[in-house]
Structures are given as structure tokens and as C-alpha cells.
Amino acid sequence: MELGLHVDTSNPPFTVIVVRGELDVYSAPRLREALVELVSEGHRKLIADLEGVEFLDSTGLGVLVGGLKRLRSNDGDLSLVCTQARVLKVFDITGLTGVFRISSTLEDALAG
């Protein structure tokens, strides 16, 4: 399934990247490129909305970790929006639930 990426800048200072579809070894490089581009354009407070992600594996997870690292080293942050059990499970198993701030709604993430 095609990966959908949509960047929403209507909630400054936050930039929301809405991710849809399957995030695996095939599609994850596109998300990596998008995150790198956003950081290079000066976006620092990123929120990745994963509600539309139907599948996430460790390659997708690695891209999110890479994005978080890149932002933190630039005085920024990457938080996530996700309520889907099958996606949250991947964060749980790998112990990354404690590394990312994960909100249930975009409103909560924007409030943070």
C-alpha cells in the first residue's frame, strides 16, 4: 500500500506530518526524507500523526527514532499521535514508549 504523507503547518509553532498506510523497509525512506527536509527547512516542533498507519515495523520505527534524534540535536522535538494497539505494541516491545511522547489526539499533542 502506498505511503501517504501530508504536512500541515496551520498550528504554529507545530508542524504536523500526517502519515498514512504501511511504514516498512520499502516506504520508510520516504518518511526519512520528509523529516530531514522539514528539519533543514527550520521546523523544530514536529508531531507525527500515526493514526492512519496500518502497519509499522522496526524500519519505520528506526526512521522515527532517527527523526527524534535529529530534532533533539537541533533543540527541537518529535512527538507522536497514536491510539492504535498494533502500532503502539511495536513501541512497547522495543521499549521506545518511554522515549517518545505519545498522545491520543492531535489536540493533546498540540497542547503539549
Partner: protein, 164 residues
């Protein structure tokens, strides 16, 4: 020593070592598991994820070895289990040499963007075995539960109905 699978091989799929085929393999395995096994939906999701991780590693192993070899996925069905084998033609690895990741509280943890695949597979499937030689690696993943457990429930229901 070669590992012997339980059951009968029902599906064998050979795909090019390219990332776009990982989705094909996980969908075929998930369809088989959904259609023939009595597994809960979240267990099917676990299997899909485990297959995705194993295929990603297999593609990487072939690439590192500089080989244009396919990734072979095979499914073996026994009454109480489904076994999925993902095979590559890479140079092999020693599972016991896999290093542990730092704790989440350790800032170093963020340097581990990769290498999460095998720990993930281990926690997702009921049994995981490796058969690795310098000619390639086979990753055997087992999910317990099958038509039999479903039949057992049916049997109980039938007994209750007949008794009434």
C-alpha cells in the same frame, strides 16, 4: 544440523530481494494464517510483523553478500502449529553474538535505530529458531494454535447441545 519442520509445506514463495516485495510476503503469510488457522486477529498482526522483520533482514543479508538471490518464504502447517521459514543466501550470522540494546533511560539508546528486528520477532512468535551457515540463513518462526483448537471449542458446544 538442519532443522526439521513440523507438518507439511503448503506454500513456498520466492521473491526478488527488493524492499517492495516484503509487503507481498507478509500479506501472503497473513492470508494463509487467517484462512486456515484459528488465530486471533492480534496474533495475525504479530505474525505479519515478524515476517516483515525476517524478510527485511533476509534482503539485507543478500545485499551485503552482493548476491542477486531471491528470498524464499515457506509455510508449514501442522494440526497445532504454523511454521514460517524465511531463507536468504547471505553469509550467515551467529545469533548468540547479537548485542543487547542499552536501556531506554540511557541516551545511547537513541543510537540504535537498527537491529531491533530479531528482538521484535522473538517477542512476537511462539518459537524462533535460526539455521545459519556461510551459505545462508533460515529463520523459523512458529505460531501455535490451529484448526484443532477451533474444533475443540466446537466439540464442547456439540457435547453441551447433545446433552440438552
Amino acid at each position: 544440523m538442519a532443522l526439521v519442520a513440523a507438518g507439511t509445506k503448503s506454500v513456498e514463495l520466492s521473491v526478488p530481494s527488493r524492499s517492495e516485495y516484503v509487503a507481498v510476503v507478509r500479506l501472503v503469510v497473513a492470508s494463509l494464517a487467517t484462512g486456515t488457522r484459528n488465530l486471533a486477529a492480534d496474533r495475525i498482526d504479530d505474525l505479519k510483523l515478524a515476517v516483515s522483520e525476517a524478510c527485511t533482514n533476509a534482503i539485507e543479508a543478500n545485499r551485503k553478500a552482493g548476491l542477486d538471490a531471491p528470498v524464499i518464504a515457506s509455510c508449514w502447517e501442522a494440526p497445532e502449529r504454523l511454521e514460517v521459514c524465511i531463507a536468504d543466501s547471505g553469509t550467515g550470522f551467529e545469533p548468540s553474538t547479537l548485542s543487547a540494546h542499552p536501556e531506554v533511560s540511557d541516551p545511547e539508546r537513541l543510537n540504535f535505530e537498527r537491529g531491533l528486528g530479531i528482538p521484535l520477532i522473538r517477542s512476537l512468535v511462539d518459537d524462533l529458531r535460526f539455521e545459519s551457515t556461510p551459505q545462508g540463513t533460515k529463520v523459523w518462526m512458529t505460531m501455535f494454535g490451529g484448526p484443532d483448537s477451533g474444533d475443540a471449542t466446537t466439540e464442547i458446544v456439540r457435547t453441551v447441545v447433545e446433552r440438552d
